[in-house]
């Protein structure tokens, strides 16, 4: 009866550290606080409230009636009648409070949390494409791909919606997906199994449901358009396991892209987690070129591969609209143009991601890289090989890059990518060596942090406490604010 349940604190960092203890003890030794007049407290609170009111909010240049591609590749489209407030946009969280109108989001999975708060409903995603419409009398949530979690005081439980499902939440309707009615329809007519769907499936997002995807009726959600692509991406929505899946590639390199852009395109970056900072300064230009180029290639290419060539076009155009990266635009356009005609016309849902056998391989292929042995060319070729799913070729190219260009700007990225592949293959010792090499070669802060965290996880998995402690010390010396879990 009085036994202890597993406390939540086991999943939390310690609330009290030595600085907390030292600060409080110093104050205790000084004795009780001098009493403050209530009037002063109220005045201070009023000033704070005023400051909080006028304090500038983070701005990702979101505008009603237009689409915005965020730094990590996530696309946010707001209807022209949308009224919203960007509550948070940082390395850990993107949160949008929606007062009216509709937001469509195509989320790139990664470490960030994605939240839309529409008052009647609180929607959180782990990497997906979905929309939230705030209407006068209800909120509609529709999922095109992946899984979203919907929490609302008007629902009896938190609901999980999967690809093709939708829900309407109205103040007086306490259920959805439970038997018809305006507020109860799932797009595929299911009985709301998203409610209690297996966690494992959710974690793998739509990847685990690939086989089911053909059953999804598109309706007005274009769900089927993405069905097979989702199925093939497997763990793409899984931001936890380092896998060589194409989405993982995109996430990975969008970090590099983000780091480079935050310096080269946007001037001095304000957020260290986004790769701004002294480290990213080295080779920022070349990184920007590489990151933007490969990212644009990837975006355009992968969209075209998915049969969403129009998306590639749109992204390329939106990049051009922003006028930020002429190089990237050029690449994106040319890549989209190159790939779109063959795939975009075939807009059927079953369009493959893989190029047909015997298809022209283009300049990013391994064959081409044999001729081009410069570090950028090798890295680009490795990216292309990974996108094709040809891991062996990617490993070979990355190893050649590291061997032939150990001091190049691309070495850090190559070692990181190689480490991820090795880790996913279960080659832990090799992965550790590659991550160490990546750190040594130099990385933007965000990737360097990731490398340290990966090293810690690897040593923990190998139960090598001494190595774990050594890496922990180095991590803390390098990043004072790093959070390192005790062994």
């Amino acid at each position: 009866m009085s036994g202890r349940p597993d406390p939540i604190r086991d999943t939390l960092r310690d609330a009290v550290d030595e600085s907390f203890v030292a600060d409080v003890w110093a104050r205790v030794e000084r004795g009780p606080k001098p009493s403050r007049a209530p009037l002063l407290i109220a005045a201070a609170a009023a000033v704070l409230a005023l400051v909080a009111l006028v304090w500038p909010r983070p701005d990702a240049a979101l505008r009603a009636g237009r689409a915005t591609v965020l730094a990590d590749g996530t696309e946010v489209r707001l209807s022209s009648d949308a009224r919203f407030e960007l509550v948070a946009d940082d390395a850990a969280r993107f949160e949008l409070a929606l007062s009216s109108g509709t937001v469509w989001m195509d989320v790139r999975p990664g470490a960030r949390r994605w939240i839309v708060d529409a008052a009647l409903a609180h929607v959180e995603v782990l990497g997906t494409r979905f929309s939230v419409a705030r209407l006068e009398d209800r909120v509609d949530v529709a999922v095109e791909r992946g899984v979203v979690q919907v929490d609302s005081a008007h629902l009896s439980n938190t609901r999980r919606l999967r690809a093709g499902e939708r829900i309407s939440i109205a103040p007086r309707e306490a259920s959805a997906g439970r038997g018809g009615g305006d507020g109860a329809l799932n797009e595929d007519g299911s009985d709301g199994r998203g409610d209690d769907g297996a966690r494992g499936d959710d974690a793998n997002g739509s990847g685990a449901r690939g086989a089911d995807a053909d059953r999804i009726r598109s309706g007005d959600m274009r769900g089927a358009e993405f069905a097979r692509g989702d199925g093939r991406r497997g763990s793409a929505s899984n931001g936890r396991t380092p896998t060589p899946a194409p989405d993982a590639d995109r996430r990975t390199d969008s970090n590099a892209d983000r780091g480079a852009r935050s310096n080269a395109d946007r001037g001095a970056g304000s957020n260290a987690d986004r790769g701004a900072g002294s480290n990213a300064d080295r080779g920022a230009r070349s990184n920007a070129n590489r990151g933007a180029r490969s990212n644009a290639d990837r975006r355009a290419g992968s969209n075209a591969d998915r049969g969403a060539g129009s998306n590639a076009d749109r992204r390329a155009r939106s990049n051009a609209d922003r006028g930020a990266r002429s190089n990237a635009d050029q690449r994106a356009r040319s890549t989209a143009d190159r790939r779109t005609p063959s795939n975009a016309d075939a807009s059927s849902p079953g369009d493959d991601r893989d190029p047909p056998s015997g298809a022209p391989t283009g300049p990013g292929s391994a064959n081409h890289a044999d001729a081009a042995s410069s570090a950028p060319a090798l890295l680009e070729a490795a990216d292309a090989a990974r996108a094709r799913g040809d891991e062996d070729a990617a490993v070979d190219l990355l190893a050649r890059l590291l061997e032939g260009h150990p001091a190049s700007n691309e070495a850090g990225y190559a070692a990181t990518t190689l480490a991820r592949i090795q880790w996913a293959r279960g080659e832990r010792a090799d992965a550790i060596v590659s991550w160490e090499r990546a750190i040594e070669a130099g990385l933007p802060n965000a990737l360097e942090r990731e490398a340290y965290r990966a090293l810690l996880a690897a040593h923990r998995a190998r139960r090598d406490r001494a190595a774990y402690d050594r890496v922990a010390k180095r991590f803390l010396q390098r990043f004072e604010d790093a959070n390192v879990a005790p062994w």
């Binding site: 939390l12 310690d14 609330a15 030595e18 606080k33 009023a46 979690q149 936890r240 996880a457 390192v484």
Partner: protein, 199 residues
Amino acid sequence: MVLISRGMLPNAAMRSTGEPPVSDAELVARIRDDDRWAKEMLFRRYIEAVGSLAVRVLQHRADAEDIAHDTFVAAFRDIDQLREPAAVRGWIMQIAVNRIHRRFRRRQLLRRIGLDRSVPSETLEACCSDDASPEVRAELALIDRRLRRLSAKERLAWVLRHVEGATLPEVAEALDVSLSTAKRRLREANAKLGLEAST
């Protein structure tokens, strides 16, 4: 930083060896004789319990530091009133709980009249360990949101029990209520949180 410094806390050392080298009763006796070392020892022995509870309930580090400070200042000031020196832990926790309760209600009042727009910085989700999965983070964020539905008393009981891992008698002692009252509060808190009724 946390990793390295945690091992320096005397209370951590105490846990690893089982019995504290100096008993609570002896520390209290020495504090009554104005022994500074004993004060610091007692402080370090229980600062983690007090500070952690304050952080988890108030979700503001600065507020939690205030609470911890006020708690130990009051404890050292009133230590002569403690009847059972061996029960000093429960006594300190009661002082802390009272102060957290007051602070929580005051903040609610300020918020109601628009003088407090602060955003909790130490939410469960924000304090999640680095290796936690997105699923776990989402669950913690959900609990964070639902915790806002609880009254101060319910929140204290729930955090003590389910976040800090206290036993039911420890919860009852810290809240200075009977065991049945503690169970009732936990039941009510669980119901509001939409969790299973197990306490």
